[in-house]
Symmetry: C2
């Protein structure tokens, strides 16, 4: 399929070609496409072929490319597919292949607004049981709309960025007043993030059928969470400091075009949703995550059965006339399956800390300083092949002295 | 005090000198300072005086200036004060005075992250009574931390932008399912917004004593709200579509230095707050808003008694290590006083719509298409003089056909 050598089992086969921003030595960060263990340095290749817009790849973020819109995204993908398939391009491309091991990956795009949904029924049910044990786990609105809220865009960080343990207020259930200190219930959230390219107009909703006109692709999101801070602060205006200290995203943005063969029909929604959330071809993606804590596989959350489709999330997000911008990121919320080993957060995996994991014979509850969490993801296709989304990783470091 | 003619009662006297971004005819938008009925076009004046950084004023937003930090803000203010006081500068400045009536004002800065607090005790109590009539109006966390959440930065608009009535889901208390349609309970929120200039470092909290190192100044904020959408969606993750369709800000950013004489000591906080929220000189500002609906004065919310000081809001926002960026905006939340004519939203002024206002003999509940809301604000000083914050205005237009 390609004249480029691609190791068996690589997430980045010749039909994936995700885009990211790399830094190579002292050179300026710029856009590359991943293939196998290598990166195609796109700016010089596009320049050599005298492509319009070659300079878009010389920039330190994908935003200018993302703003071009779907026809340009398609044309770029076709060009990339040709480059790696057609051995006539070998002489042009080969000088601009850089080993992935030789670069450091950057945040792939400047994040405009960040919205976090709550679209996994299993996760919402688990969290309802843990946070509100005395009431129905799923709230009355949950099956009528994709519940979501705004997160902090300025603290979205590149994979590999160390995560400083957050401090803040928490209150024990039997205490009369809160105390201050480093979080004792530091957690992850395994999510899929959708990256908006084409902006919309203020005052005009985006319909479910316009999803692919606006969204370029996906990244893996780890929405680090401090459960003790969150539990004390979140009523009535929602999570704030329990989430805002850091959110990590994977470096390679996989296009919806590359994911197309992994689309699966959305499950039945009962009760039926309002018309603005209905569409002819609502789909999800058959993606499975793998969560590793210090190298141990601890969970494999499945995305395919998530309750709300990404087109519905976008339609809901804009139904009030709110506009989206290039660089907007909206994430699915934590992905959890029905199995104990399919839960997308440690609060679920350890059931509120009461059922610690056992790794190498040692009990492990919430995250400790020095812990490293790596989330990878793969999309499955009907022909049995797989397409990788790469991984997002981060290590916990102690609270900084103030 | 100035060789420039300033009409009596102008919000923009010779010691205010707020900065904003104006558009004059077909020329590029750029930075100006308001004085009386005029604008000083700063880029050519700074160039004529061969000031370093004169080009910062030729930009279409204040962000580059805001990023300079407090010493540069102070130096700029001193320069401006000299320009308008010293008649020797008249020949340089006068050719670059533009009538305010001849320009259109733009959004003064590119908003990075937007956080909305909930810092008025009277407002939080009123909303608690209206949204949760069967429980204590003030929740247990309210006096321990400034409750806040993230809003949508991408839909913050310049004063004068028409506000499209948002559509969405709402559910009547006795209905079994939600319905879709244009909001019937469209509202305002009168707020003071703090504009961050100097960024902070991820992982390092900003202490209460560092407030003035990071915050440049203030704007008036109208956080338009759809109460019916909000009531149905906001549990458990907080307000989302009920707020995200639009937030209007006033065009002139008034510096903390200009406001300094209006600082008042923060009221007593009982119970005592945790140490990270304590400071030697916690202050508020003696500012009074005026809310006009279609020209009628309907409310005068007082800011001075708000429970949480802006330095505490910033310290709380960053206590978990979250960083702030140039262009961050954090707002106080709705400002309401104890009097009926001091409430900062129509849901409070009409007590949930049950006690309509009477204007020109007609009843008026929530906002109707065509309604125009203008919020102005004034800071009072011990010598009896006043400093204006200008105004923010917006008119409701019907939901757009989809």
């Amino acid at each position: 399929m390609s004249w480029i050598d691609i190791p068996d089992g690589s997430p980045f086969g010749p039909d994936n070609l995700p885009l990211g921003v790399f830094r190579h030595g002292d050179e300026e960060p710029r856009v590359g496409a991943a293939i196998g263990d290598q990166i195609i340095d796109l700016a010089p290749v596009a320049s050599a072929q005298m492509l319009d817009g070659a300079q878009l790849f010389a920039q330190p973020s994908l935003n200018a490319f993302l703003a071009l819109g779907r026809p340009a995204w398609r044309a770029t993908r076709d060009w990339l597919l040709d480059l790696v398939r057609n051995s006539a391009d070998r002489d042009t491309v080969e000088p601009h292949l850089i080993p992935r091991s030789a670069v450091s990956m950057q945040l792939p795009f400047e994040v405009a607004d960040y919205v976090d949904f709550y679209a996994s029924e299993q996760h919402a049910t688990n969290l309802g049981r843990l946070f509100r044990p005395d009431s129905e786990p799923l709230l009355p609105n949950w099956k009528h709309l994709p519940v979501g809220y705004h997160g902090r865009a300025g603290t979205i960080v590149a994979s590999g960025t160390d995560i400083v343990r957050p401090s803040g207020q928490r209150k024990a259930p039997d205490a009369s007043a809160p105390t201050y200190g480093p979080s004792r219930r530091l957690d992850i959230e395994v999510e899929l993030g959708y990256v908006v390219g084409t902006p919309s107009t203020l005052g005009k909703p985006v319909s479910v059928d316009e999803f692919e006109d606006h969204v370029y692709g996906v990244v893996i999101v780890n929405d680090w969470s401090a459960r003790d801070l969150q539990a004390w602060e979140y009523v009535p205006l929602g999570p704030f400091l329990g989430k805002s200290f850091a959110t990590s995203v994977s470096p390679w943005v996989v296009s919806l075009d590359a994911l197309a063969a992994s689309a699966v029909p959305l499950g039945v929604q009962d009760p039926p949703v309002l018309p603005y959330l209905r569409g002819r071809h609502l789909t999800n993606y058959d993606i499975t995550f793998e969560v590793r804590l210090n190298g141990h596989l601890v969970s494999s959350p499945p995305y395919r059965d998530i309750y709300w489709s990404p087109a519905q999330m976008l339609a809901h997000l804009t139904v009030n006339g709110a506009s989206v911008r290039t660089g907007d990121l909206y994430a699915s919320g934590t992905v959890s399956g029905a199995g104990k080993d399919q839960r997308g957060s440690f609060i679920e995996l350890t059931w509120g800390g009461r059922e610690p994991l056992v790794l190498d014979g040692e009990e492990h509850g919430f995250l400790e300083d020095g812990d490293e969490v790596t989330i990878s993801a793969w999309a499955s296709r009907p022909d049995g092949s797989r397409l990788g989304l790469g991984e997002v990783t981060g290590r916990i470091i102690p609270t900084q002295p103030t």
